[in-house]
């Protein structure tokens, strides 16, 4: 098959699925809807695999498949094609999207079977996959932006899927608008790059990237990339625009798995990796990214410590993990960022689906205080969840270990890294281990606090199969990117991942200058690895102690930290702060604006003018008082004035 056709099928298959389900959205036959949707994504997956294999088989320097369909629009020098490119980076992404996507679709059939809007649900899900594919395959920033906004739209629709609940509809709206703030910056970023380089084509941009670093904060590349990064903070839920993601848990749980864990939220990372030659030349931007990433990682993790909603915990975990990815790309470890993106997609999708399975089994109960001891009711869910847990806390040799460790190492060792970034990362890792263990302990282990009316049960095989597949991936997914130090000691296992991506990853000028082997030794790497693993281990133990053995402890701790705990529990009051400082004043201000400007100034000015004219009219009328002698007086007076004026020289 020609690549063009393959790409077309890849992209259009979910769209067709969307249309097929969309036109019959009122049907409630979940099997038919699910079959159509899953097949559509699965066809895409097959195409992705075929394309990937083609890439693998191609010579190393020709691993790019670019296809163009038509010129989308062109004005003057600005011309955008509906063109797509499959290369080392995007091929990984499409595999994740369609692969994990297929699994989640499959899971959804079971999860959503009782929902009346199931057909609509699958239509949206397909539409999302379509847009996500556009995002990752687009050969220019603008085509990427199409998908970028498209996934935002789908996210909006899916978060607000149960729109009869005002809070859920509001969550969707919040997601879209917050994203829009980022998108606005993204647009500006595109403009800056376009007027600097004259193109928005990603490959051309990368090729045109300057060869020296830009030191100024106001340089075009720095500003442009900074703007794009603000766009990314919106989509990938980083400080300060992360607020929408926890609320986004209002959507059906598989949606959270697909959109808000595995794919869409990583788009920001993906975008930065795509444009890494540009970002590399803007060290200031990189610094901002790294700092924001690290801060997000820690902050979200602290909030995760206190949450009781199973999905909220996972949501903050996602925010935190995304922070890691940004930390990685911020220090120039683009490969590591992508790597963590992939492993995170596996284990976070797994955990979300697992939580979905729990919620499903618990009859829509999400509060972990009302769970506990579920492992005996839901063995498969439990086992798979444990795999995910092990992966996320970075237990060797689970996938999360490799990717997270690579990030922490790079945060320390990269020329753009800093020991404080490592410290932040390590703290984050410890917190992650703690709250994930807490989640496990409260949900699956310990004594049951399940309500008497609720009878937890294991989910059907439609739901457990995806869990199992993802669990396997969570375990082995990291093995393709084993770090050199470990690889060496295990007998020359190459780092396939790094090798695969390396043609597209720009070298940092500092690195290029310093030569291949930096000043950091393998011992350091081993030490740090040990440190982070032990931090995680200690956290796990503490958490086990607190939530399994000494169940009073959490209460004591939270009491001890009273106000701090309260602040953390309430997510640092960020939402409240945004409302109080921005949204409410905006609405109130708009009301005043309307009242003062439209009503009281512009319209009033109009009325005053009319009043003036009417006043003139009334004055003339009052002169016209019916007395003819007065009229005669006007004539005479007029004549007198006329004459005197005329005769005056």
């Amino acid at each position: 098959m020609s690549h063009q056709l393959l790409v077309a099928v890849l992209i259009l298959s979910p769209l067709i699925g969307f249309l097929l389900n969309g036109v019959r959205f009122k049907h409630t036959n979940y099997i038919a809807a699910g079959a159509i949707a899953t097949t559509a994504v699965f066809i895409s997956f097959i195409c992705s695999v075929l394309l990937f294999l083609d890439l693998v088989n191609a010579p190393e320097n020709q691993r790019t498949i670019a296809v163009g369909f038509y010129e989308w629009f062109s004005v003057d020098k600005f011309s955008i094609n509906a063109g797509f490119v499959v290369d080392q980076i995007s091929s990984i992404m499409i595999l994740i999207i369609t692969g994990v996507g297929s699994l989640i679709h499959l899971f959804s059939i079971g999860y959503m079977h009782h929902d009346k809007g199931v057909t609509k649900y699958f239509a949206y899900l397909n539409l999302f996959v379509f847009n996500m594919l556009l995002l990752v395959l687009g050969d220019s920033l603008l085509t990427m932006f199409v998908g970028w906004e498209g996934v935002g739209l789908c996210s909006y629709l899916l978060i607000g899927f149960w729109f009869n609940d005002a809070a859920k509809a509001a969550a969707g709206m919040k997601a879209f608008i917050t994203n829009r703030i980022g998108d606005a910056a993204f647009i500006i970023g595109m403009f800056i790059l376009f007027f600097t380089f004259g193109t928005l084509n990603i490959h051309e941009l990368n090729a045109l990237a300057p060869t020296t670093m830009e030191a100024s904060w106001l340089g075009a590349v720095t500003l442009g990339t900074l703007m794009l990064f603000i766009g990314a903070t919106g989509k990938s839920a980083q400080i300060p625009l992360y607020v929408w993601l926890p609320d986004a848990m209002a959507g059906p749980t598989p949606v959270s798995a697909l959109i808000h864990a595995a794919t869409m939220v990583t788009a920001g990372v993906y975008m930065i990796v795509r444009l890494n030659p540009l970002f590399v030349m803007a060290p200031n931007t990189m610094m901002v990214i790294a700092v924001i990433g690290a801060a997000t990682a820690v902050m979200a993790a602290t909030i995760g410590l206190t949450q009781y909603d199973i999905k909220k915990v996972l949501a903050y975990s996602t925010v935190s993990q995304l922070g890691y990815m940004f930390l990685a790309v911020g220090v120039g470890a683009f490969g590591a960022g992508m790597f963590h993106l992939m492993t995170h997609a596996f284990f976070k999708a797994l955990m979300f689906l697992g939580s979905g399975s729990v919620i499903h089994g618990m009859h829509e109960e999400q509060d972990i205080r009302k769970m506990g001891g579920l492992k005996k009711y839901m063995p498969i869910t439990h086992i798979t969840f444990v795999m995910g847990w092990l992966a996320i806390i970075g237990t060797p040799p689970f996938s999360g270990f490799f990717s997270k460790d690579e990030i922490l190492w790079q945060a320390y060792s990269s020329p753009r890294g800093h020991v404080l970034l490592w410290v932040a990362g390590a703290i984050g890792a410890g917190l992650t281990a703690f709250y994930m263990t807490r989640l496990m302990a409260l949900t699956f282990w310990g004594t049951s606090r399940v309500d008497k009316h609720v009878h937890p049960h294991e989910s059907g095989s439609l739901m457990t199969i995806p869990l199992i597949v993802l669990a396997v991936l969570s375990v082995i997914g990291g093995w393709i990117g084993i770090p050199h130090v470990i690889g060496e000691s295990l007998g020359h296992i190459p780092n396939y991942w790094e090798h695969w991506l390396s043609p597209l990853i720009a070298k940092m000028p500092e690195v290029a200058a310093a030569g291949e082997h930096a000043a950091h030794s393998a011992v350091e790497e081993w030490l740090l690895m040990g440190a982070s693993v032990s931090i995680a281990g200690i956290s796990v133990l503490t958490a086990c102690l607190m939530y399994l053995k000494n169940t009073d402890a959490p209460k004591k701790v939270s009491d001890a930290f009273g106000p701090v705990y309260k602040a953390v529990y309430n997510k640092y009051f960020v939402d409240e702060f945004y409302f109080a400082s921005l949204i409410n004043p905006l609405i109130k201000g708009s009301r005043n604006l309307w009242y003062y400007v439209d009503v009281n100034v512009i319209d009033k000015a109009t009325y005053k003018t009319t009043d003036l004219v009417r006043g003139g009219g009334s004055f003339v009328r009052s002169l016209q008082n019916g007395n003819m002698q007065q009229y005669a007086l006007y004539v005479i007076a007029g004549a007198a004035i006329t004459l005197s004026l005329v005769l005056m020289r």
Binding site: V613, V620, A632, V635, A639, T642, V646, L647, R649
Partner: protein
Amino acid sequence: MNTANFGLEDILLTSPMIVLFLFSLVPLTIKILRGNVEQVHLATVIEVLIGLLVTATLIVVFGSEGQGGSPTAFGGQLIFDGLTTWSSLIAVVITGASVVLMYENPSTRGPQFSELMFLTMSSLLGALILIASINLIGVFIGLELMSLSLYLMIAMSHEQKISKEAAIKYFVLGSMASAVFLYGVSFIYGTTGSISTVDLMETAQPLIQGHSNLFIFGFALVIIGFCFKVSIAPFHAWTPDVYQGSPTPVTAFMATAVKTASFAAFLRILASKGIGGSDNLLNLLQWLAVITMTVGNVAALVQNNLKRTLAYSSVAHSGYVLMGVIAVGISEGSAYPAASVIYYLMAYSLMTLGAFAVLSLIERNENHFVQTDELAGLAKSHPMLALCFSVFLFSLAGLPPVMGFFGKLYLFSAAINEGLLWMALWGIINSVLSVYFYLRPIVVMYMKEGSCTSSKENYGTTFVVVVLAVLIIVLGVVSGPIFNMVERSLG
């Protein structure tokens, strides 16, 4: 005033007036022969209309083609140039339509119809003399003949109270204005030794440039006299009262035929060469024009009596026309601004007459004064009538593509041509003001619920209304040729 040496040519030239005079006697004569018994009104109207038709034909036949100088009659007392032809034609046609209105309006039909017809025709005769005269005393005679007939026409209304008041007001103020005018004439005579406007053209320039105060005094008084007749503020105060008090057909006649004739004569006086030299006078007139427009429009804005609104609108339009007249004065009588004035007068007459005709249809009896709010529902009961009324009002407001728009276009463009940009600006601003009150009847007719009706039997008036509406649209769309004809005959 050379030897009184006149022949057939003079008779032919003045034949419209002579014929009109003879015809004006017909209804009265018949009535007397019948022993003071009124004959069928329709017969009277038909006689009058035939008379007017003949007059109009004669005007066209013996009127000037514009080329090769303008013939004068009776030793230079009357001139028959393009201005005379066109203004007379407008006056005659308008009178014809007004007569139809009078035939059907409750306040004018009745036992004294023949007398009314006679007066109407004498008034028209006065108007024709006024238009054609190039002698100030001739102008005065025309003016008085026109006005005296009008006083009586007003007073003859079947409405007994306010028409008398209107007549007495008009009479007193009009006579006073005549006296003022005449006083001015005496000074012109005293300084130039002549009262012929032809002589005036020759002699005015040195006098004005020499700042001959007496002459300017006299001339200004003459202008004031005219200003009174064409209701220029602040000499306009009689207009709303008299227009309101008169029977509607008479108002229509007054507001159109009489005003056209007065303006024609005014134009003739002001077109005198050398007026352009008097900056003071022209500046003053500009101010008067602006004040007139504004006063007319703002006063109309706060009116609810439809007839009074139209009266004020008529005042405002006088201001516009005066702007054109000033342009004529500045250009020292060139044909283009004069043609635009004539075209505007034509447009103004047709649309104002149309509006009054609609008003006349709506009046139930002689004591009925139509308020604007009473029009509610007219669009439902009489869609055609409402549509025609809308055409008149839109035209009055100056919306394209009807006559009112082109009239304003030509007028403003003439004014701008003579450097009167600021006046054009005022005119434009005023026309926006005027839109408001011209729209009001439309709002009421179309957008409010009500039960306004008109009497169905008034076929003649209805016919007039429809014809006028069509004319306004057609003469608007094909205004080019008309304007060319007017300008050619003036040049």
